[in-house]
């Protein structure tokens, strides 16, 4: 199941959103909160699917499970007395999920302008975890080797910018 124009995904989305909304409502959240929690749960679920690390018996139950943890976490931030259930580990929500970007906004903008193809390449490799042969084919590089070298060049280019920004921040 993928996100892009996948009728199965859309159907799971359509069926699960009201269930998550009811849960969030019971916990005192509004529609916007429900939507945000649901989307975060879907993203984490899709990452788990990609990693293939856990066997997911029911897509909907899994998304609901993550959403419940995220909802409790958010409530915990609002009301300190809510205890987190021990089942949280079952879902392994990424530790850096809500962290702010590790570098400043100008670098994010640079990363975007570093070239759409650069970003697509890095995202396909580091986030979608696709094999280099498939990335080369999709992004129309002549060979896998060309795509790999291009990945290094992209990293080099962005690294210089990160370095410069951090030095500027340190000087402030």
């Amino acid at each position: 199941m993928t996100m892009h124009n996948d009728p199965i995904f859309e159907s799971v989305y359509r069926d699960t959103l009201p269930k998550v909304a009811r849960m969030v409502h019971r916990m005192g959240g509004d529609l916007d909160t429900a939507k945000d929690i649901f989307h975060d749960a879907v993203i984490i679920y899709l990452e788990k699917k990609q990693q293939n690390t856990s066997s997911i018996a029911s897509d909907q139950a899994y998304i609901m499970g993550i959403a419940r943890i995220l909802c409790l976490r958010r409530l915990k931030d609002d009301h300190q007395y809510v205890a987190l259930p021990s089942s949280e580990d079952d879902y392994g929500i990424p530790a850096d999920f809500y962290d702010p970007p590790p570098v400043a906004q100008p670098v994010i903008n640079f990363l975007k302008s570093a070239g759409r193809k650069c970003l697509q390449l890095l995202q396909a490799f580091y986030y979608d975890k696709l094999p280099m042969a498939e990335i080369a084919q999709t992004l129309q590089y002549k060979t896998q080797h060309v795509a790999t070298v291009q990945k290094y060049k992209c990293l080099e280019k962005i690294r210089e910018q990160v370095k410069q920004t951090q030095h500027e921040e340190a000087a402030l």
């Binding site: 989305y13 959103l17 989307h39 590790p102 990363l111 890095l122 995202q123 580091y126 990160v162």
Partner: protein
Amino acid sequence: MRKQLCEIRDIGQYLEQQQDTAGQRVFEARELTSPELAEKVSYQRKIVQLVRWLARRNRRRQLDNLYRQLMTDETYRQKITSIFQ
């Protein structure tokens, strides 16, 4: 391939844990003796984090679009909004 690019490849292999244990240890020893290399490793790690963060942001945007699209269906919209009334 240029020396700089080879170094980026080595850092990548280290971060992705593609080397064997001995290779990892050798790299870590190099990192300990070279602050310049340690700095480069830290930058490369940050870029990977940044790419992940951006990818999640893109997904959120796509999901928001799907949400807006679904909410144009009046029956569905009512089903959702009635929960909060």
